[in-house]
Amino acid sequence: METVDHLLEGFAVALTFQNIMLALLGAVLGTMIGALPGLGPSNGVAIMIPVVFSIGLGATPALILLCSIYYGAMYGGRISSILLNIPGDEPALMTTLDGYPMAQQGRAGEALTISGFASFFGSFIATIGLVLFTPLLVKVALLFGPAEYLALFVLAFATLGGVGSANQAKSAFAAILGLAIAMVGLDGQTGTPRITFNNIHLYEGIDFLVAIVGLFALSELFIFLADRGKFAQQAEAKPIGRLLPELKLFKSLMPTLSRSTVIGFIAGVLPGAGASLGSFMAYSLEKRFFGKGKGFGTGNPRGVAAPEAGNNAAAGGALVPMLALGVPGSGTTAVLLAVLLTLNVQPGPLLFKNSPDVVWGLIAALFIANIMLLLLNLPMVKIFVKVLQIKIKYMMPAVVLISFVGIYGLTGSVFDLRLMIIFGVLGFLLRKLEVPLVPVIMGILLGNLMENNLRRALAISDGDWSILVSSPLAIGLWVFAIGGFILPIFVGKFFRPRAVLKDLKD
């Protein structure tokens, strides 16, 4: 029962007054960020990272704050889905299908309560799953040498586009772009400047936070500006109505919640899936196999419970490979990896050995944040609904200023601010061209680590490249990487939420 001991120690770390207050602050901020249209878990956490670091919090408190924001944003995404029919982020897309019809029938309050409870259920169980499975994966990870790590990174990049990817070449290009950006600056091994074009500002490399905030937050501004007419009229939120559904309804939802949580968790752990696919698969399963003729899509409470349990479970599941292997499987975990790297915490098996207080403190904090979020989101949901009335014309300028404040506070360099603007424009163009941004971020984050593993492997083999495929584990990883890259080309269209939704509507 080593795990239980570790977890108790984690609670000892997390349960200080300051940390509890930070978890509360994060939960409130996160829910608001998730509820605001145009801000989701990834860009919400992205703009908060530099701010949190400039304040100078320690590793564990900073992690607790940012993870509470992450979990909070996952909860908050459902509010605008249900009340406005606008998903706050991609994973909340499926919640609009039955959530908004419920709101139209005057049952918005019930839908919010059900989805809030479903979010809690999904993420709480997934956090338990995280406690159980991460140590197992850590044991496997200890068998990894440089060659296996390199193959694992390739696997992560190859599957990052996801089984729902529309154009694998674009996903691959995105990853290559990120890796290429990571190469800029002084080479860690030899100390020679690379691809800096003798610009002194580039010697230290491109700070991934500059790239993340630019790509995620500023590109959002450009998306809104380019279509500013469309976003000017804001949808009217539906009235809430009664909050508590009947107990009977709750009981009837339990099987749905359990199934969706398991599906979501698995989708989260597997590379190339993430929260969007978790909610999509949970909803499809519920509808196709258990919901024939039950009025899915017209306001069935199960259609609200399934995707919310699924996406929150997936968010928890996605933390398993991120913590155990240091390889994120989704956009938001990539952003969380950025958090860890900024704190000089390198996730992976060594993290569990060297700084168990950080890992287990974090996991304990996730439990605490979850309970807080449940308490905040059930009785006090009406306060968060008020967030929807914030006008875009005031929100967008505030987001822009906070982005600048964070980066300036962190680096104090006007050059970095300009670089962030360039990344913003780049992010806008890439989003329009449907080149995914997450692989770019991951490439920037993992590029140097990947190169180091390549170099270490070839140093061991004295320059013989066949070492990369010399162990069964490495060969297996390569096979999965190639399979995971090719598979979406054939089956992708069945797993693409937007495409499937379009089919349903036609």
Binding site: N167, T190, L221, R228, Y394, V405, I421, L433
Partner: protein, 143 residues
């Protein structure tokens, strides 16, 4: 067509990148994987993707109308000026103008833009500088 243009721009950028990588000084001690290897591998893979974009372009994306492009260009210009002015006039004044500009572009009236700009800018100054102690750009008046 957009994908084809994208592919061509990507190819040009990759050439530029590879040229930049080729200027890297080789270390004294020869290594199995020198500092140029990874950038070259990436250039090759990237070029492969770019050729794919040119040969098999996707459907046209929904580009903004001409007005939209103009908004984006103007926003970039305003933000660059903002970064230029930050060290000169300080965070509060620069941010007030920046926020006011964006409120105005999102259909705020001049009054809303003025008041909103001051309120947002002061709010962020209060939270991040006064409460959290973040160092922001100081102007000649100390804020």
């Amino acid at each position: 067509m957009s994908d084809r243009i994208f592919g061509i721009i990507a190819l040009i950028a990759i050439c530029f990148y590879a040229w930049g990588a080729s200027m890297t000084q080789e270390p004294f001690l020869p290594q199995a994987v020198g500092p140029k290897v990874m950038p070259y591998i990436l250039s090759a893979l990237g070029a492969f993707c770019a050729v794919y974009f040119i040969s098999r372009p996707d459907a046209e994306p929904s580009w903004p109308a001409r007005n939209g492009w103009f908004e984006i260009l103007a926003a970039v210009f305003v933000m660059v000026v903002y970064t230029q002015m930050l060290p000169v006039v300080g965070f509060f004044v620069a941010s007030t103008f920046c926020a006011a500009y964006f409120i105005w572009r999102f259909f705020g009236t001049p009054l809303q833009a003025g008041v909103g700009g001051v309120v947002i800018s002061f709010g962020i100054y209060a939270v991040f500088h006064l409460a959290l102690g973040l160092s922001l750009a100081k102007g000649p008046w100390g804020f």
